[in-house]
Amino acid sequence: MLSVSNLHATVGETEILKGLSIDVPAGEVHAIMGPNGAGKSTLSYVLTGRPGYEVTSGTVTLDGEDLLPMAPNERAAKGLFLSFQYPLEIPGVPALTFIRTALNAQLKARGEPEIAAPAFLRLARAKAAELKIDFEMLKRALNVGFSGGEKKRMEIFQMAMLSPRFLILDETDSGLDIDALRIVSDGVNALRSPERAMLVITHYQRLLDYIKPDRVHVLAGGRIVASGGPELALELERDGYDKYARAA
Amino acid sequence: MAAVKQTVEHVASLEKYKHGFVTDIEQDFAPKGLNADIVRFISAKKNEPQWMLDWRLDAFERWLAMDEPDWAKVSFPRIDYQDSHYYAAPKEKVGINSLDEVDPDILETYKKLGIPLREQEVLAGVIGSPRYAVDAVFDSVSVVTTFKKELAQVGVIFCSMSEAIREHPELVKQYLGSVVPVSDNYFACLNAAVFSDGSFVYVPPGVRCPMELSTYFRINAENSGQFERTLIIADRQAYVSYLEGCTAPMRDENQLHAAVVELVTMDDAEIKYSTVQNWYPGDPETGKGGIYNFVTKRADCRGDRSKVSWTQVETGSSITWKYPSCILRGEGSSGEFYSIAITNGRQQADTGTKMIHLGANTRSRIISKGISAGKSSNTYRGLVSAHPKAKGARNFTQCDSLLIGKHCAAHTVPYIEARNGHSKFEHEATTTRLSEDQLFYAMQRGLSQEEAVQLLVNGFVKEVLQELPMEFAVEAQKLVAISLEGSVG
């Protein structure tokens, strides 16, 4: 599914990713863990094509298709979804309007018919109920004045509405209390399927109790420095990143 | 609360305008009035070379053709430029070599003002306390500059402007008037013709000036103006922090202070310029007397990534007209302006800054805190502009006014000119009065009204005070308190 090979990327003058490679096959969940400043968010932005994050060498493909020349919305239409570490506030645009615009744009890009308003609202009500989101909140400007936890929940709601094929969760657990964490994880797990894959970026092993990864990678100094099974996350939780930070 | 209490007690022990005394010494005056001969007289008194005299005479010609500006929100009787002495100096020979040659009365004056002119006095202070070098300007002349030798060892030139003209003509010729052109404005032009003394600083490439430099300006003579001129150049990667203090005796007539300060920073250089201005503000009841403080201060951030930071605490003068500015020419250069302006009695202040963004990725930050009390008027006037080439320019401005009493005025007049689509300007301004609720809260906890006011005012200006070097901050905090005495109740 997603294949990243020897990726180098710079922000401004600084090289942040220094030869990163990772393969996430369809149906699998991979976790990326690493110390602060390792380049985890940078990876998520490079994959989704954020301006200012420049790829200097390496390749990124989704189902064999080169992602790098694509604009961010084209990548999104291919099914790439990023749950932002710091979701943006969009003043003046109600959450529902925003999501409907996005969904229709994606459908259109894929040559599928747009979704009609009643069907969209039905879907939104159902998903909101699953994620225990007050429907009234969806009429407010997206994320404006929302708490940190509400913003994260709104990310997962958008994910549920857009049903992407490849999911990147960047520190989605931060700012969530235990109940919210369970609701959010249920939402994510509901999207697990043989055709989908995900990359779960996290700092703590806690989230991985809820979203069980098939593989765990350690990102340090802009590279994957170790990979293993779920037990690697437990080891990191116990011993910290020192060993790997030194290796990087 | 102990700290507050202490401050309050300390303040209570100070008189209102403690710098209002006169030093009785023999003075050398230029005859009253202003004409080309007076300009020649000043130049001759200072043993200036011909090029300097020519520069002054040219400025004088231009000044005659100019009109006094009237756009500031201040009003005052027309100044009679012929009714003032343009040169006043203690009777001494020029070029004193040691402190022992300085008139003991002058030394006493500075002692009373708390300015250490004897290097050993500074050294004898608390161990580890920061040292600072002083250039003391008494009316029209610099009487002494301390720590010159030590500074010279690292290549820093710190001397009076008169000396710089004689000893470093190449530097003076290169930079004088290059930031504030001779005919920039009415008062700057007048200054160019008749400027008396001031400080000159040159910090060579790569040098971090090892101590704070400061100039202490004192107007003493009657019927005289002070027209000092300061020029500071920080060459590539140099750093210097400079402090300026000013006081004057209490006199019934108005005295004109029309200074020009020019700063130049080259690549990666930084100048931090702090002012505590406490000229005599005039009589609080009648408004009689006081200094007209019409000053042009400007920095030219010529070098890439260079930085200038202006911090000012303006408490004195009957009229202040002053806009320390930054021309952000170098790529990535930055300018800062932190200001506290307090007016009480019948004072009028029209002050602010100009941040002119010319280079790409230039930054500026303006924090202005104005406090008006009594029957005073306090105006913030500022310009932020980004030219088409200043892509990535950023400005943040916060401009707050506090009103104490029913008969004062506070004005905010910002000009914002954005000429490209890649810059970002943010400006916020508020005007409020001292909160009754907060006052009551503090008084309920046992503070007197005066103490409570001070506490709240200190909170209001804190953001700016913390930009000042330590010793100045303490001084400034006291000043803030004194300036507002009797403003409530």
Binding site: P72, I99 | A409, P414
Partner: protein, 340 residues
């Protein structure tokens, strides 16, 4: 000399220039060396106006004229006022509006031109106690026109005045509002929207003078400029001595969407009373790149994301229009200008 007087005297050199503090960014004298000839009377037919359907009283002034709009005590009215310039002449309009106590008026005003005209409109608007007026101004001028509109508004205590200017600029376009605010729980909303392209210019200038206790003013202007357009915002709030408990807030926020466009702003406070809460905020910048990326990441194409974000930006002002049908017209106008 005032613009009106200069036009009356047919003296171009008496027009305000950049040397007049109030006109520093809207120079007329430098622009107009020779006054155009007086406009010829117009006998043709005018097409429908944007607000025709929303009003029961239609006033149309073509190439100058005078009209009076009076609403009696406790009566309601909706007036579509069209100030039209045909051709390239000079002319003046005069509009006198008065609302008796408790009267309510929707004043839906349009400026329309089709060439290099020079038009001046002087409005005097007076509201008695408890009267309410909503004024929506759509200034849809020709790019060669010079349009100066100057409104003098006088409020009585407990009056309620709301205004929204919508402007797409002209060669020079100045929409000026001066309000004498008596306090006394009178409330004032002064809003504006501009969307400029090409080499168009607009100037939203206002002066609000709070003269008595307990007045509120809420001002919000937002604009978008493109190409080589230039927008000017000058807002001044004066709180006179004794006008305590004044609550006055002013916001001006502009987006510059090109390399060469320009926004000049001067949000001014002049305060002579101490028990007040006054504030202004001003921002000028590009569209938030982070928000743009966020929208694109969700699959929205960049152009559409830009349009959505700018419309939302402007929409926050349009949403403050009380009269829903006028709000719809405003929203459609903004969407069309933004997507043009």
């Amino acid at each position: 000399m005032s613009v009106a007087a200069a036009l009356k005297a047919r003296n171009a050199s008496a027009l305000p220039s950049r040397r007049d503090e109030d006109w520093r960014w809207t120079d007329l004298r430098g622009l107009i060396r020779v006054l155009p000839e007086p406009s010829a009377p117009f006998n043709g037919i005018v097409v429908k106006g944007a607000f025709d359907r929303l009003a029961d009283d239609h006033r149309v002034l073509v190439n100058g004229g005078v009209t009076r709009i009076e609403v009696a005590a406790d009566r309601k009215a909706a007036v579509a006022l069209r100030l039209i310039a045909r051709g390239a002449g000079t002319h003046a309009n005069q509009v006198i509006v008065s609302l008796a106590a408790g009267a309510r008026l929707r004043l839906l005003e349009t400026y329309e031109s089709d060439g290099g005209s020079l038009a001046h409109t002087a409005l005097t608007i007076a509201l008695a106690e408890g009267a309410a007026l909503e004024r929506v101004v759509l200034a849809a001028d020709h790019e060669d026109a010079v349009t100066i509109s100057q409104a003098q508004v006088t409020l009585a205590p407990t009056a309620d005045y709301g205004q929204t200017l919508l402007s797409s600029g002209a060669r020079r376009q100045r929409l000026e509002t001066r309000v004498a605010h008596p306090g006394g729980r009178a409330s004032l909303r002064l809003d504006g929207v501009y969307v400029l392209a090409g080499k168009r210019h607009t100037d939203h200038t206002s002066v609000v003078t709070h003269q008595g206790l307990d007045g509120t003013t809420a001002q919000l202007t937002k604009g978008v400029v493109r190409d080589q357009a230039r927008a000017v915002f000058q807002g001044k709030i004066i709180v006179s001595e004794g006008a305590d408990h004044t609550d006055a807030r002013m916001g001006h926020h502009a987006l510059i969407l090109s390399d060469r466009a320009e926004v000049d702003a001067k949000p001014e406070l002049e305060i002579y009373a101490d028990d007040v809460a006054c504030a202004h905020g001003n921002t000028v910048g590009a569209l938030d790149e982070d928000a743009l990326f966020y929208a694109c990441q969700r699959g929205i194409p960049e152009d559409e994301a830009r349009a959505m974000l700018t419309e939302a930006f402007i929409g926050q002002v349009v949403d403050r229009i009380w009269f829903e049908d006028a709000r719809k017209v405003a929203r459609a106008w903004a969407a069309e200008r933004l997507r043009a």
